[in-house]
Amino acid sequence: MLTKRIIPCLDIKNGRTVKGVNFVELRDAGDPVELAKIYAENYADELVFLDISATEERRKTLAKLVEDIAKHINIPFTVGGGISSVDDVAMLLKSGADKVSINSAAVRRPELISEVAQRFGSQCVVVAIDAKQIVGQWKVHLVGGKQPTDIDLFEWAKKVQELGAGEILFTSMDHDGTKAGFANEALAKLSEELHIPIIASGGAGNVKHFEDTFKLGKADAALAASVFHFKEIEIPDLKKELKANGISIRI
């Protein structure tokens, strides 16, 4: 049986991890490769690297980092952040990334999704959607959630599926950083209306939240950052607990 996936997310700036991490075994806590290796050895199912640097050198630094990651880890990983062209995608996949995550650029120019899917296959296209509720309506937001749009989350999700997205990474801005659980109602609706996998993001605080997002939110995968980086939740413990609660999981 296919298992639910647990995905740690690492923020990267100029080739280094940004958010503080609490790993005593790391010689260099800012080294994304070292951190990634530890996660891979501790049963993370995939990894997501989100590049938030804004320098001119960004592309080159990122390509080098992606190659370094691909050399050292033996599980799939996705790279996102500022991807706006087929060339950006080609460079990342050529460096060894398995998938790319496209966000704002897809909203600005939806054809980018189909261009990437046609050239490299849907399996490598993750469309990231940041959304929050405005008067009870889920609206897509851009630029890391800062810029609201009038686009409805569910309509946009269906459109990206049609355009060839292989997966959707949905982050609820209302839940992100709260540690109060995932946006399970919206997640369940996405899962029911679409046939591609949905990755839940935003709100992980404890083990029960993961259980809920798989059971109530019908998510195919759950992504989190700080609860893993600060070891508030250890992935092997989380997975044992989920398995004990009847969730199909890889241990």
Partner: protein, 195 residues
């Protein structure tokens, strides 16, 4: 040991090269028929859409070479699918090494299947040292139904063939290069196979 990884423009082939490096083997990414012919082992990867991948293969002339190879050949993911007779995707005629038809998942589950699933009914030295129900990473919408050349099965609403073997040809639907230590062991077994 010369290992050729067939590079015909389809997807992430670097990962296979890196996985082999972690095992201590050097390999060459190539679309050169001579290099492929003279290699001790050939890996035939592939991701993406079947008909366009097949066209890229034809453009390099490798479509006629691959079925004639005598050394151990390992098709991975779409590579395995293209080694079959026909793929439903894009109604693509394959290389005809395995007399199988690759069909689309028709289940209540999501398509593509993305993630880690178990493999069982393991019947080959390719799986030496690997336990029944080990987890492998898969990404695919099309599959090979139960088949006489099957050496491993998986289940996604329906039980299907997740690995095939015939003479010197092996095919795996999962990504050994992305399936942790167990996946790497499968690559190692393939390199060390004696057929």
């Amino acid at each position: 040991m010369k290992i050729a990884i067939i590079d015909y423009g389809a997807g992430n082939v670097k990962s296979i090269e890196f996985a082999l490096q972690r095992l201590g083997f050097e390999s060459e990414l190539t679309s050169d028929s001579e290099v492929v012919k003279n290699a001790d082992r050939v890996i035939f990867p592939g991701v993406g859409e079947a008909s366009s991948a097949m066209n890229m293969l034809k453009n390099t002339g490798l479509d006629t070479l691959i079925p004639t190879l005598k050394q151990p050949v390992l098709g991975i993911c779409l590579g395995m699918q293209l080694m079959c007779d026909v793929c439903e995707e894009g109604n693509t005629k394959g290389l005809g090494i395995f007399d199988a038809k690759v069909v689309k998942f028709d289940t209540q589950f999501k398509v593509p299947q993305v993630g880690w699933n178990t493999i069982f009914n393991l019947k080959s030295d390719l799986f030496k040292g690997i336990g029944e129900n080990s987890y492998m990473y898969l990404v695919h919408s099309y599959y090979v139904p139960k088949h006489k050349s099957s050496i491993a099965a998986s289940d996604y609403g329906i039980e299907y063939s997740v690995a095939l073997h015939k003479n010197n040809f092996f095919g795996v639907q999962f990504h050994p290069e992305k399936s942790g230590k167990i996946g790497e062991l499968i690559l190692k077994n393939f390199i060390e196979t004696s057929i």
